[in-house]
Subunit: 277 residues, 2 copies
DNA sequence: CACAAAATAGAATAGATATTCTATCGCGTG
DNA sequence: CACGCGATAGAATATCTATTCTATTTTGTG
């Protein structure tokens, strides 16, 4: 039992919960996590509903409210409702207006404006992606990956995050993945075992990382089926590729967001699993 | 009694009420006016409360709901509640509904459909990002990074792509970066040189990578200024952090797009350079 | 390992809820 | 002016609600 039983804002409540989370025990922690993740459910639901959704008995919800200093669930719920009501008026118009306003305010030098710029850049990159990728390529790529024994991933330099992300997702889904990162030796050695039974996903954008440009033709020569993700048909990983995804309008390295390729590789991985079973 | 008892948007309901207003009788008109003027009260209140505030007996409220084609007050109230939650996060409900629905349909199994699903997921994640990040936090983070001698990056498991991307961009801009990847030994050793003169950017989402949870408190204890990017205030990298960016509604690991954190770290890096010269 | 303390789940309960029912009222019509 | 019809309000009701209580389990400790 604590003092903050007085009128409390939602943000204050969040802070309190975060602080005291560790001190709470088992069940209460579980509820704390659910409550922070689903504030709307708490605002609108009944004790029974919240209890069911969070997987705890109703009485535990009440104990949780007590532990936070409220007289009961209803009292705590009021805070969550205030949050809903508070955010209703200024939501759409004000938020958008603020974004537009700040965007032009100090000409993009303030961090917030920079974020807005990158967000809208990313938005349009996504639109472009969904327009430029065709079903035929996706299906072909999926077919290749389905037949592959091991999947080799080649993405260095600025593309490395994309490769690691794809590696992570594919491994989560139970696929055999070899991430060619050049650690502890040359990537040539790492890729030495690749055969035509396997597959390669290569990712590279300007300026094309030298090692990528060097290794790619070798694997093609060894008849490893290849999926390329790049920004130009003139890139070194296009010639000989089985499938090419061209992602256009990539800004210069430091400014590119990688949003589009990240999205693409994830769709590849998940689509692979959904269509194979 | 009318048919529109089906799922109805708040705007549609408003139109219906306005149309039928004249046809309604006395009391019902009075209720109609109150309801249009105080939609929030209707969303959150009980029949008794709404009745009292609008100066009519409770049964009249129920009659009003019936007259609009609803089965009862509760049913009508649902429309008003949807309005409240509609303005908060464009992701949440629609996203979940769409995923649940398409995941099992034949449409959602084709690779192309999977791609467009991830694209729209990413879109809403970006919108949510620009709404949930505040200028104050961005400025604080920028200040920390500006003063830092070396910038340590901690992002393992599913967050590793984000960390590598940030490392890449920061190095391109000429900053001294230490990427804590645990290669060739423990990350403890890698981070041993970090002091209060440096800075740490930690990135972690559920399920929080154990090494991250273990290392973070150590660096905080050594008074290293810390910027955390995570999905919950209860994550192990929140306690003691100088700045926390909370990115909500992160799907399960295999399905998350990383689009939002990727965008955020890039804005951080670029914003850092733009505001420091 | 035994004990005490805390936490938990599930049943019990007191209260509130939306809805229905019925007697009454207002009002236009024959 | 009496009649009939619809609207109304208030009481009755059955459902659902939050909360409390208690037996049981789990946890920490000597």
């Amino acid at each position: 039992m604590n003092k903050p039983s007085g009128p409390m804002s939602y943000d204050e409540l969040r802070g309190t919960i975060a602080q005291r989370h560790r001190a709470l025990s088992g069940r209460l922690q579980q509820i704390a996590e659910f409550v922070l993740d689903h504030p709307t459910d708490v605002a609108l639901g009944t004790v029974a509903e919240v209890a069911q959704r969070s997987g705890v008995p109703p009485s535990a919800i009440v104990r949780f409210a007590h532990a936070l200093g409220f007289g009961g669930f209803t009292e705590m719920q009021q805070v969550f409702r205030n949050r809903l009501v508070a955010g209703e008026a200024p939501s759409y118009k004000a938020r958008l207006a603020r974004m537009k306003g700040e965007e032009k305010s100090v000409l993009g030098r303030k961090p917030m404006a920079v974020l807005s710029r990158f967000v809208s850049e990313a938005q349009s990159a996504l639109v472009t992606l969904s327009q430029s990728v065709h079903a035929r390529e996706l299906d072909a790529a999926t077919a290749i990956l389905t037949k592959a024994r091991d999947i080799y991933l080649l993405g260095l330099g600025g593309s490395f995050p994309v490769a690691t992300h794809l590696a992570y997702v594919l491994r989560k889904l139970g696929h055999r993945v070899v991430l060619l990162d050049g650690i502890g030796g040359s990537i040539h050695e790492q890729s030495h075992a690749a055969t035509s039974e396997d597959a390669l996903v290569a990712i590279s954008f300007r300026n094309y990382y030298p090692d990528t440009a060097r290794l790619f033709p070798e694997l093609v020569a060894r008849r490893v089926p290849t999926i390329s993700i790049t920004d130009s048909l003139l890139s070194p990983i296009v010639q000989g590729a089985s499938v090419v995804f061209e992602i256009q309008d990539m800004p210069e390295p430091a400014l590119r967001t990688l949003v589009a390729p990240m999205c693409l590789v994830q769709a590849l991985a998940i689509g692979l699993d959904l269509s194979s079973d």
